[in-house]
């Protein structure tokens, strides 16, 4: 069983807020003119990460199923004169890169994941094994932004959210504990636990115990 202590947690829950409103709300949180170029997901993930004060030796794990939905929509709508800015912004881990480039904050290890039904289990496993590789601290973050025409076609998130939690091998100052047990019965039924479900559990700081992927049981407890 892999075990880590949660030493910090920050969440953003704008729900159905439009990107322009998010941009306006966060304009004092980022350097001048930065918010104009950032996506809603970049702002939300950046806001969740900012209090954690990343360092170069942190390992950063990022999970998003749909990632830069609005940039993808805008990029596709820009054809046949494809937008270079929207193209580079549409790349999967752009949200995190926007947030860290603004602060010129390097990070040695950055693992951006995507996925569907088992994305939370996979991201948590990557984070817990990174801790085992000698990183001083692991940051697990994730989020989505709400789509427009891609959402109408069932190809985007129906809500925006973001989270970032710091994981440590030490219980000092911990606010919670996270475990991932690989010994569970591979044939046992899993609960539906998408990235939004992980966010909801974290946002409410609810305890959790469930099989979230085949042979992957997650427990979360809070101090």
């Amino acid at each position: 069983m892999l075990e880590r202590w949660i030493t910090a947690l920050h969440t953003e829950d704008p729900a159905l807020e439009e990107p322009a409103a998010t941009r306006d709300r966060f304009k004092s949180r980022f350097p001048r003119n930065a918010t104009r170029r950032m996506t809603q997901l970049g702002l939300l993930v950046g806001s969740a990460l900012e209090p954690l004060k990343l360092t170069e030796t942190d390992t950063l794990v990022y999970a998003s199923a749909f990632a830069e939905t609005r940039a993808i929509e805008g990029y596709l709508d820009s054809f046949p004169s494809a937008s270079p800015t929207l193209f580079q912004t549409s790349i999967h881990p752009s949200a995190v890169q926007q947030a860290l480039i603004v602060h010129q904050q390097p990070v040695r290890e950055f693992f951006p994941l995507t996925g569907g039904a088992h994305l939370p289990a996979q991201a948590i496993e990557v984070a817990l094994l990174a801790s085992g590789a000698g990183s001083r601290r692991v940051i697990l973050c994730g989020g989505e932004e709400r789509g427009t025409w891609l959402l109408e076609n069932n190809s985007a998130s129906d809500r925006a959210f973001a989270f970032a939690l710091a994981l440590s091998t030490s219980p000092d100052g911990a606010i919670g504990r996270l475990t991932l047990d690989h010994a569970s019965d591979a044939d046992a039924a899993c609960v539906r636990f998408l990235l939004a479900d992980l966010f909801d559990v974290l946002h409410a700081r609810r305890p959790f115990d469930g099989l979230i992927a085949p042979s992957r049981r997650l427990t979360l407890s809070w101090s």
Binding site: F79, P106, L119
Partner: protein, 369 residues
Amino acid sequence: MSVPSTSIHLSACGALTAFGDESTTLAALLDGRRALAPVPVLGADGGDPVPMALCAGRSFDETAPPGWLAPLRALTDRIPGEGWGSPRRPVFVTSSNFGVGSLHAFRRTGDAAHLAYGTPHRCVDWLAETLGWGPNVTTFSHACVSAHLGLEQASRVLAANLADEALVFSFDFLSPFVAGGFHALKILNADLPTPYQDRETGSIGLGDGAAFAVLTRDRGDMKFVAQSLHNEMHHFTANQADGSGFSACLAPLLPFTAGRRFWLKGHGTGTLEAGRLEAGVLARHFPGFPLVSWKGALGHTLGSCGLVELTIAATAIRHGRAPGTVGSSGPTFTPEVVLSPFEIGAFDSVLCTSNAFGGAHAALLLSHA
């Protein structure tokens, strides 16, 4: 910190490029052939001709299901073993674009059939079902260093004894979505790329690519000596001019390269600034060690390039002869750049590097087991 991977072996690997499998590709590169040819950047919608290397027999314009499945099956049929995607045999899929070309096709035609492949997880779920994989499939997407993340995580899962074997599978097939974007960035023009060549203007080409690698703790004729990652987060499309970000990626590998005689398979897309920086940093750290890039022949296979080129390098090691930097001529950025095929029997390992959007860097050292 990145991890030494001395206990992780490469037990099997295979690749698909526009030339064919890894053996056909190696032979073509040794002959100095280029798969790149001018193709209208927007496919059926026309546009400027740009250099692309497409797998034979597939349409550049997306179909539903994607036409790249047929050539991909020729590769996946060669993956050894069964039960991939089960609890002890995880799969790590890496790509930059997945089936995003299908979203472009949907927006262009309105045909909802394309949506079944448009998002990363729908594309991977479809592939997993088609290939008979179980649900233990983890997916990374980090532009052109994506494949390195799969290799790193597979190594960690094996080192933690959470798996008996691990399959890393990388793919990226071109579409108007991708080609249109690179063309908009003004680095894709009518000129064929000449990696590491000091000329007036740079250019890149794009290519289809896919590859697999089976990693184990104890079987295989090659092993991963060490792997390293670094993300400088300086600018989306530029590295720090002094090369410090790429140097930071190489630094953890230096103790493992000491005393070794190796050659370098660089990233080498054909852009001037990045190529000059990359060749300069590698020459500074490893003076006299031969450096090659194959993207002047294969095009940049994007999220799959790390594994495609690793597989070709492994095939070259078994063959005893490595291709030079196909398509380039002098003057080169550094004297270490090798333009012609060369004998590698006297070398004990190869250092493979990749670089990506956002100042992401990856490197690994592969040696005989």
